[in-house]
Symmetry: C2
């Protein structure tokens, strides 16, 4: 298929790409932006369908872009070549690399998760900052979580900054968006214990048994966990804090807790 | 002292504030910017001298700014009131809160550190991203590190994004900037063991004894640790990675390692 060229700054496709930065447009179109060579490559590796791929050679940083374009086209994406100026208009990043794709959103339900006998999942509630949500996805990926469940999202999973901060993990870790009560019932039905970090908890997170079916739950940046989750947690735990009370943000607390669980679950206790 | 008002966009003080975003200007003047209510409050709490404090009521978010201005003035800072537009010009943040101070830089040497019998320090080498360096400072603070030693800095400690990402921890955790060989000699002379994370290490970080005098060392985002530190590390350790190879960045790896050391050093082993 011949590549369509876009040079007019008035081209309606450019306006649409800018609109897709906004949640309302993403929700309406059920589509989202995937910007950057690394992120698009990971989407392709994970067989995420890309509807369209916009590129501009003037912004390319390396030598591998041609192969990426071929792979995207072979996977069904329609290609558009943009002038330097046109790409600058649609690029969301400060330092664009000339690659921007549009992909359809997906919805996965709790029922669609396939989990092992001893599930290890992360539940996050009402995270506000896309950068934190993306970092949390990376942490869950590194820790080998079987799923990330997003309750009552303030920022949507398909926010461009989530895609970016997740470095493409969004395409590999199974993510479900669901309301709190449904998640709780689902966890209870499967005998998955819920560990919640709270500065008020008496027990240290390292003194709790984090083996077996486990859900680590983390609350919002500003308000922490809701009363709903605090009162339903099986294991309230505290991370010791030596310095300023707010030195650990939610993404850091999640990472620490997940890796303590990894340590215990690996059966290696020095 | 009467507060000087600045409304002219041509005022040379405004230009100087913009220049101080650049390292060259910071190095020349030996001064740096502290933007934001929280950061300035922490600087004052820690008796960090502020030369000047610029404010604009049009950007204030709360009710406590007046008390902060009084405290800054009492501590010797000269106050300048800016128009909304003038503050917008000098604000570095996307969402300014009407508070911006200039403070003199400080230099602390290794000899100036006062450490307990079993020191627990973090050494970072050639960190490139200010946001990572700031996050690492927060982690060191939360973990109760006695000092952070910055080797061969690519980004300087006084970068506005370090100040910001550290949420003011820069003012409380003792930080030293020094070259690698001097740091190594200093560690060796004090019998401080060096633990270095590396994907190539055989032993897991949780299987190593991280008690006693300890330095955790982390390398740059792009290149990892230099050969110098890798070959001089006493304990090469590996953090297990379940997902994408790059899911853990340097700040995340530092946090995980520091909190495993905290666990072991607390003497609580479940």
């Amino acid at each position: 298929m011949p590549v369509e060229k876009i040079t007019s700054m008035q081209n309606p496709r450019l306006k649409r790409l800018v609109r897709l930065r906004e949640r309302r447009a993403r929700d309406e179109e059920k589509a989202f932006l995937v910007e950057g060579y690394r992120e698009v490559r990971r989407a392709l590796e994970r067989k995420v369908a890309l509807d369209e791929l916009y590129f501009s050679r003037d912004w390319f940083l390396g030598e591998n872009e041609a192969a990426l374009l071929s792979a995207a086209e072979a996977a069904g994406a329609r290609l558009f070549e943009l002038s330097k100026e046109a790409f600058a208009k649609v690029a969301y990043r400060e330092r664009p690399d000339g690659i921007l794709a549009v992909a359809p959103q997906w919805r996965r339900g709790l029922a669609g998760l396939s989990l092992p006998a001893e599930p290890f999942v992360l539940v996050v509630e009402a995270i506000e900052k896309p950068g934190n949500l993306g970092t949390i996805l990376r942490s869950a990926d590194a820790a080998g979580c079987h799923a990330v469940i997003v309750c009552d999202p303030v920022t949507d999973l398909f926010n461009p900054n989530v895609v970016r901060a997740s470095t493409g993990v969004l395409f590999s870790v199974p993510c479900v968006v669901e309301e709190g009560p449904a998640v709780l019932s689902w966890l209870r039905a499967r005998g998955i214990r819920i560990v919640a970090t709270s500065p008020a908890a008496g027990k240290l997170y390292t003194d709790c048994d984090l083996t077996g079916p486990l859900a680590v739950i983390m609350g919002s940046e500003q308000y922490g966990l809701s009363e709903f989750w605090l009162s339903n947690a099986d294991l309230p735990v505290r991370i010791p804090m030596a310095g300023q009370a707010d030195s650990l943000n939610v993404a850091m607390a999640a990472l620490i807790t997940l890796f303590e669980a990894v340590r215990q679950r690996s059966g290696r206790r020095p």
